[in-house]
Symmetry: C2
Subunit: 253 residues, 2 copies
């Protein structure tokens, strides 16, 4: 008998988030699920790794048949230590999320959810990050599940191109989305990024905030366009950072 696929799950909202429990429930039909998450929120952790602090692993009660662990590190730490220590064999798939909040456009570079997916990809395992476009901690993830089913089934069957993982963003729309498109990360940037405060001792401090300025709002090929039109976006996302542009002027003269 063929072994059931082994699926490693992580996130950046921490082990107590609803999104990762909904994801685990959805994945159990596809294989054995091991869920290894940060011990608390690690949003915006990108591909950060814990270099100067030790990691601890704590096994929790199983969830509907899935093994559950928490780690005092980043999403990338969770994937690395799972591969090295927790998992008895190489996983067939890494799935991260479902994130509470969009990871479309430039957000992909800061996202801890996508950090875990990139790390899975760096280990040579097909990897997917799922995000729902609402930060509501009690969000309704039911609209995500048909797309998780479809994409996970397809990736388990077909694999993914080497060095590429998927960034899947699902609109928190009502009615739930019915369509899915392959898109690209929208160009744009964050502006007005800090709110300034004064503490009781008269010292200033700053808190990250800001607005996303879409630089190509009419481009139907982008993730942002699809999401704003109630369509699920799938972006093929590369781990390799090397660009093929011409910079030979640097070595001339």
């Amino acid at each position: 008998m063929e072994k059931r696929p082994l699926i490693l799950v992580s996130n950046d909202d921490g082990i107590e988030a609803i999104g990762v429990h909904e994801l685990v429930d959805c994945l159990l039909k596809f294989g054995d699920v091991v869920c290894v998450c940060p011990d608390g929120p690690r949003s915006g952790q990108s591909m950060a790794i814990s270099v100067n602090t030790p990691l601890r692993i704590e096994r929790l009660d199983d969830w509907h048949g899935a093994e559950m662990y928490k780690v005092n590190g980043t999403p990338v730490d969770c994937i690395k230590i799972s591969m090295h220590t927790i998992l008895g064999r190489r996983p067939d798939l890494v799935v991260s999320g479902i994130n509470h909040g969009s990871n479309a456009a430039i957000n992909v570079v800061y996202s801890g959810t996508m950090g875990a997916a990139f790390e899975g990809c760096a280990c040579g395992v097909p990897s997917i990050g799922f995000s729902l476009t609402t930060h509501n901690p009690k969000a309704d993830f039911s609209g995500c599940l048909p797309f998780v089913d479809k994409i996970v089934g397809s990736v388990l069957k077909n694999g993914l191109p080497e060095g590429v993982c998927l960034n899947v963003n699902i609109p928190a729309s009502n009615p739930a989305p019915t369509e899915m498109r392959i898109t690209k990360a929208c160009k744009g940037r964050w502006t007005d990024e800090y709110q300034e405060y004064t503490d009781p001792n008269g010292r200033k401090f700053y808190w990250l905030t800001g607005k996303f300025k879409n630089e190509e709002p009419d481009n139907e090929d982008t993730d942002e366009w699809c999401l704003s039109h109630g369509i699920v976006s799938v972006v093929a996302t590369a781990l390799d950072r090397t660009d093929s542009c011409d910079i030979t002027f640097l070595t001339e003269g």
Copy 2:
């Protein structure tokens, strides 16, 4: 009279590192230098941002005419808050480093040094990360300086392609390097990544370690090959993560 270029400097080794002071000294001939660094080591912070904690800015004594600041955040935080709060005008260049340790190959994705450079790039400012291939905190950076001069001079004159920053790695070789090449990030991965310990209470903990396994050791086009042959490597590095590979199987059937 034309304004002198404004150069924003950061790093991930923290405001006290030798590497960033050597970099500032080298950059003062090109323009006005403002140096904004984390208040301590932030190696491996990638593009992490502080979402759930406030930031504070502390101005320090000038260094040889450069304004010096420390921030209780990540390298990306330093760039963001500089753009928003510290700098009076838009910088002409962002330079990060000189890192104590290589950021070649897969290290580019974990690097806080390159995180700062990517963030500069995300703001539309030509950005460069410099790294020396030794973790020695008292490293001799003199071999880097001719290459910092050459590359910074050239980028201030020519700019960089949109969405691309430079990842410059300099071998800590003796004699100092004399050659520089445009390369690409070497394929490879980290293995044996954790050392296991037991604390006095019998609980296990883990510390990140590991060895880099070069998957294309004979490829002369890679950064790792150049560095191991005493040659400075410059990689054009893309902020955009979208890959052009074919994943249409996901939406078929």
